[in-house]
């Protein structure tokens, strides 16, 4: 499954043992795809001495700060953009 810019996505809330690059503060949060960067080897398997293949598409995903931090003190338009690998994203209906 691949995602298009503008598409709404949720960061998977599943637990994960071991190394991964999806920050805990984003788990379960909904944002929208800003761009697809490229595909990269998977840090979750590469960290344990493998070649990290198959490569995983990496997306830049934007989130409203108020959706990420319920008590966010900044402005309503403020956003946070995070690079998230495709296998951590879920389609939002």
């Amino acid at each position: 499954m691949s995602y298009r810019p503008g598409q709404r996505v949720r960061v998977a809330a599943r637990p994960h043992e071991g190394h991964h690059r999806t920050p805990a503060y984003l788990k379960g949060k909904v944002g929208s795809v800003e761009r697809m960067h490229a595909s990269f080897t998977n840090p979750e398997t590469r960290a344990y001495g493998t070649d990290g293949l198959p490569e995983q598409p990496l997306y830049l995903v934007g989130f409203a700060q108020r959706d990420v931090w319920p008590d966010y003190r900044g402005h309503g338009d403020d956003r946070i953009f995070v690079d998230v690998f495709e296998h951590w994203l879920e389609r939002v209906e």
Partner: protein, 213 residues
């Protein structure tokens, strides 16, 4: 190495140096093991360190100054910062994707790596200690306007703040806004205004010196 019954009774350099922090001791022990297992060579480590300390924010500043004076170069920088850096003969660093984001009257960007300390080292040199500190890494995402205030940056009310958390293979460089009063300055003079912190997005560029009369 499998038949090497290694109980560390052979002589080698001491693993610690006086009062160095525990993290340095751990790094040294890791390096020792990686070299011993043949994963890396000592020369690799020295080459990487030599490369890192040879890099400086002056390179990033050259990119920004060129973008300020050349609209078309700015477009190329925003489209692919790696290619734009190579065009100026600069070393963009080992990361395969380098992204430049532009601060405008309406949008301000700042960069953090909450998971470690990812940073565009090729163009900015080694990251400052505060960039790697836990307080910056946690608060830059949850209270970025508070953090900016502590750096002396107060954004106008109608400015949208965008925080970039570089969690993976991408490196981000901020193109700060060209300061007012710099209209007649040369590209070289402009580059001197572009500070490291302004390319992380936690500061504005230096103000131009008033024209002597």
């Amino acid at each position: 190495m499998s038949d090497h019954d290694h109980d560390h009774d052979h002589p080698h350099a001491p693993l610690t140096n006086g009062d160095e922090p525990a993290a340095a001791e751990r790094a040294r022990a890791l390096e020792e093991l990686l070299v011993e297992k043949g994963v890396i060579a000592r020369e690799d480590v020295r080459e990487r360190i030599d490369w890192l300390v040879s890099r400086s924010p002056a390179d990033g500043a050259r990119l920004v100054a060129r973008a300020w004076v050349d609209r078309e170069f700015n477009e190329r920088l925003l489209a692919d910062a790696r290619v734009a850096a190579l065009e100026l003969g600069l070393d963009p660093g080992p990361s395969p994707v380098l992204v430049a984001v532009e601060n405008t009257q309406a949008v301000h960007h700042m960069v953090v790596c909450t998971l470690c300390s990812c940073y565009p080292k090729g163009l900015l040199g080694p990251p400052p200690d505060w960039y790697k500190s836990l307080p910056y890494r946690s608060r830059a995402v949850s209270d970025p306007r508070g953090v900016l205030g502590e750096f002396g940056v107060e954004l106008e009310d109608d400015v949208e703040l965008r925080v970039l958390d570089s969690t993976a293979d991408i490196r981000y460089l901020v193109i700060p806004r060209r300061p007012a009063g710099s209209e007649t300055m040369s590209e070289e003079e402009l580059a001197a205004l572009v500070t490291r912190d302004s390319m992380i997005g936690v500061a504005q560029p230096a103000a131009p010196a008033p024209v002597a009369s």
